[in-house]
Subunit: 388 residues, 2 copies
């Protein structure tokens, strides 16, 4: 394991100030103007309603963007993995919530070490639990790391509000877990995690609204039960880019975790928009180029090692009128009436931004649009591959 | 862009010599015994038939494995991207063929610089072409890099043998390209690239055999045409793990590019096996663990940021009798009669090894099996993310 120069980043060396044409392909390109409009729209939405925004950094995995979001009002960020939290904390992100469970002592030991290292200033951490074993092992990991101060880490109890993945059953089981958290001196019970993943891409507004209404019932019932037992529930956190309007309207959620709003992928754009919701623009693109031409098709140098296809194939953003067919790991096959020529640039909108970003070591930030803009920044994907 | 300690690799520090239980999850784990049996079976197959083996390193992206294959008879490796070639060459892989096209002057300049840097020993490079523009720009890039010696790089003309992706039309168009290559002093026309991608996963043997028989007709016709024009065609290269038996039987292909045989994924295992073909075993696994339990499901910490799903979801290898449902980027949802408990280890066989490996920075090599084995090596995925 050595440290030779990294060709994955070297291809972007010296790029700042150059035009878009100089960006090597395939590359993830951020339209910074569009991204900043998305940033402000979401910040304004939360400010107007007195809601905390804690965007999900599992989407961009980039400390620079996490800090940008926090500079515009976000209270911190979420991640899904302890190693994501460590990677962002190492780059100075100061408030990180692992909105997911861990029961593995080795993983919890890594988190506990980070809590200890940041005890006097530095990053504040939080994590979710959905089992007594998880609470017990978290407490043990902190003790083993020598973390003794009270409320050293914030803990949310995750309840399953209908997605059927993680989370304890709402009601009594959640109360039991809240008690277990509150009983540990080094843990601070901070509230409920309530996220409905499969609601995010229900296309009709009414379906998303109804799903979140049912989730809200589970939240309200559970919160009342815990508070009746004498344990305060300061915060309910959750929501994604597909549903946050409904969580916000419920009056129950105090913190929104939407992340994809910043880049806006093709899958979210396919939802019927909510009335009165901020309009988000596509801000993340794959720049590709034609590297082979047939009579009736063009082959570009971007396949599913350049963009994730779990939520559908990418859309061809430019040139217009082209369809994209999966050409495997390294290729995409374009068809249409006006095919681009060998060497021409093609822009794609990824189907799903989160796993797409995770394929890349850097994102190229462009100011002034994709046609005549210039490269302003190269943003490192700090937590790319941090799956542990 | 700094160089803080990398948590993506730190979680594997000090692992060598420890039992399988010590491997952090999710992780890619190689059963080294199974992998070596695959290695020898393929080497024996080629040796017995006098065929060259040039395995596709786009699959493992790992210099250590490329060298292992070459130590067991492989003449070199293939890759799909110039930056993959550079990443492997930087780690001492000495014979690398980019079995794909590039027309971008910046990319070709990177390759030309590497050709120059390796002119007196070091790595020998080859590349495919399927356009006159590609030939012209390759020659210009070499000249611009100061590469003047004859036959500095080997060049294959790729013909489209039915896949409908890259490759020039067989026959006259291929001859024209061969002439263009042969006319450039710094290029050596070395033969034809003929790979049928979509044939690899035709399930019935007869379909694969018939598809490769049609491909062979195109190869034979084109080779005869080029030789009739006075240009030698020393080699036809191609074939994958799904079809190599048929290319080998044709007598036309002199070099096989199969790569997945080394790890054997669920997608290839779903093919009806060819009679007399070597039997390959699953050697690549995702080690995961249960991090949440419901009454009727278990959630593991491996989602599609841990394994690619382009060729189907992973199979649950152990425990037996469980189904895997997609739980998103970071989760998998298991169902079945005997669900594992919180914290239990679960082993998956990925649907498609190539893009799965590309998600990981390292692979953990285990000797002695997945139950009682020990970690022998941690292999770096040198060309992970090298998509340029």
């Amino acid at each position: 394991m050595n440290a030779a120069p990294d060709p994955r980043l070297a291809r972007f060396d010296g790029l700042i100030g150059h035009g878009v044409a100089a960006i090597d392909t395939p590359a993830l390109v951020i339209d910074l103007d569009a991204m900043e409009r998305n940033l402000h729209r979401m910040a304004d939405f939360c400010t107007a309603r007195g809601l905390r925004l804690r965007p999900h950094a599992k989407m961009h995995k980039c400390a620079e963007l996490a800090k940008l979001q926090m500079a515009h009002g976000a209270v911190g960020v979420c991640v899904q993995k302890i190693d994501e939290a460590l990677a962002l904390a190492a780059q100075g992100v100061e408030d990180i919530y692992v909105s997911n469970e861990a029961v593995d002592p080795a993983k919890l030991a890594r988190l506990a070490q980070a809590v200890r290292a940041n005890a006097n200033g530095g990053t504040r951490f939080a994590i979710a639990v959905d089992s007594a074993l998880g609470v017990q092992r978290l407490g043990e990991a902190l003790a083993h790391a020598g973390v003794n101060h009270p409320q050293a880490i914030d803990v949310f109890v995750e309840i399953d509000v209908g997605h059927g993945r993680c989370g304890v059953t709402p009601g009594e089981p959640a109360l039991a877990l809240a008690r277990a958290v509150a009983a540990q001196r080094t843990l601070r019970f901070i509230g409920l995690q309530a996220y409905h993943g499969s609601a995010q891409h229900q296309r009709p507004v009414a379906e998303r609204r109804d799903t979140i209404a049912r989730a809200a019932q589970a939240v309200a019932h559970t919160r009342a039960l815990i508070e009746a037992a004498g344990i305060a529930v300061p915060l309910v956190t959750g929501a994604g880019t597909g549903t946050f309007v409904h969580e916000a309207a419920s009056g129950l959620w105090g913190e929104l975790q939407a992340g994809s709003y910043l880049f806006m992928d093709a899958d979210y754009a396919a939802n019927t928009p909510d009335e009165g919701a901020p309009a988000f623009e596509h801000a993340l693109f794959v720049k590709a180029q034609v590297m082979s031409r047939g009579d009736a098709h063009a082959v570009i140098d971007a396949g599913h090692k350049s963009h994730a296809i779990d939520s559908g194939l990418p859309r061809v953003w430019w040139p217009h009128g082209l369809s994209y067919a999966n050409g495997g790991d390294e290729h995409g096959v374009l068809r249409g009436d006006h095919l681009p020529a060998l060497g021409d640039t093609v822009w794609l909108v990824p189907g799903h931004c989160d796993p797409t970003v995770n394929l890349h070591d850097a994102m190229v930030g462009v100011r002034g649009g994709l046609v005549s803009g210039r490269v302003e920044r190269v943003l490192r994907v700090d937590a790319r591959g941090a799956i542990g």
